[in-house]
Symmetry: C2
Subunit: 247 residues, 2 copies
DNA sequence: ACTTGCCTTCCACTGAGCGGAAAGCGAGGC
DNA sequence: GCCTCGCTTTCCGCTCAGTGGAAGGCAAGT
């Protein structure tokens, strides 16, 4: 059995997810697989430290101190921070939804997302994960991913909309074009009424570290302009990232 | 002595702060006040779970999983998420730096910040804390804070720039005006060349839960327009927050 | 008044955790 | 090459922090 105290504490924290943001003590104990008395003691200590907060209702939620800690993660303090002003510039120029994503295993992890009320509604949220084959940023990340990740991803091309690409050969071809052209596009492959363009963000040694994308209702007219805007921003992010490296 | 395993684990996590985002095992042990062998074991477990990540250099950083967890905090998933589109609308309309802050004890905690390259450069960062008396959002939060917090804050009005207000009587007067007018302003009180306007965000039962502010180089001409824009956005956030409450 | 589902406190047993010590592992310096 | 210095990793026997069943309290529903 995994009976270290640390693992129990982590199990308690792991009991929280996006569908379970508020949990009662009993729920926590159940989900973490711990006896109530044990959970009670550990949760108490976590709460005292600020890792959890207890609401007036008695439910527990993730505390401010953990939020703080998360901000220190390199995803946030490196990439996201470097990118932030560029994303806002992009948003200001286009008023479209802007996305910044990294590859997390076989999925695209959305590190940042800007959207106003004017923008096309999309499913993504900060911290959410979406399939690589059906999104603009995903295609970019996939195009530059290591061989094994790519073959693995091509093996399970789940259909999301009628326009989602589910034929491996077709996608392989597209990915090749992404690499030569330097940008990827999608047309209603993830959500109907939403098209996207995305470009790679290159860090040290020209390695692709992230993808930068934009979602618009229609692509035909604007594509060239959007690609240039994205590429300018991506370069800027890369440069900022490089100079921030040596702190 | 505080010798619970949980406290040791938390001490290790607490060893990270904005000036110490990457730590070697020895640093971690030192900062957490733990013997090396103990730190080694605990850090190993944290890393296996994903709370920490080990870089190629051997240093440890906060891991993606903790970043994820932080996103579940109510600050993020409630307030920030509700506010996000409004902040972007505001940014799109003004291209100025937009701030969303809550009161955390005697300081203003910046929950979100939008700034492009065009915007006035300012010190704040997401997750950073600034004094309540010298910023627009801070003054709003202070104006609506409980009595004891206010007197406590009035007791230590540290000077930041030549324009910072350091006389309790003057600030008290300003705060009264904030409550009647419904907005606060600053003029180079935190950083030279930066002025700000801020309004309260009201949640359930009209309680002030946050402050929404904007930073511009000069205030005189635009003030009225900015205040209305801010108030519209603040109302919108409040409404979104209320409807998200009952999920 | 009884039931059900929460939360909290208590306390005696015990094995998970402790940490000093020693060995490994590189990167400079000479 | 050899030595040193700072960091990391592994080992192992003692012991105290952690455990969790049990019992009690509290609030809401029937």
């Amino acid at each position: 059995m995994g009976a270290t105290v640390t693992s129990r504490v982590l199990d308690l924290l792991g009991a929280f997810d996006s569908d379970h943001r508020r949990l009662t003590l009993s729920d926590l104990a159940r989900r973490a697989g711990l006896p109530l008395a044990t959970a009670h003691r550990l949760v108490g200590e976590l709460t005292r430290w600020g890792a959890l907060t207890r609401l007036a209702t008695g439910e527990y939620v993730i505390g401010r101190r953990l939020w703080d800690l998360g901000l220190l993660s390199p995803v946030q303090s490196g990439l996201r921070q470097a990118a932030s002003p560029f994303l806002h510039d992009l948003y200001g120029a286009t008023l479209a939804t802007v996305h910044l994503a990294v590859r997390d295993g076989g999925e695209a992890l959305y590190v940042d997302r800007l959207a106003g009320h004017v923008s096309v509604p999309v499913v993504s949220k900060i911290g959410s994960r979406l399939p690589l084959h059906a999104t603009g940023v995903g295609k970019v990340l996939l195009a530059y991913a290591p061989e094994d990740v790519r073959t693995e991803a091509l093996g399970r091309l789940t259909r999301v909309t009628p326009y989602t690409i589910t034929q491996p050969a077709l996608l392989t071809d597209q990915l090749r074009r992404v690499r030569t052209a330097g940008f990827a596009t999608t047309g209603e492959e993830m959500s109907l009424g939403a098209c996207s363009v995305a470009v790679p963000v290159r860090g040290e040694a020209d390695r692709v570290v992230a993808a930068l994308g934009i979602v618009v209702p229609d692509l035909r007219r604007e594509q060239a302009r959007l690609v240039s805007a994205l590429q300018v921003a991506a370069r800027g992010i890369g440069r900022t990232l490089a100079s921030a490296q040596r702190n």
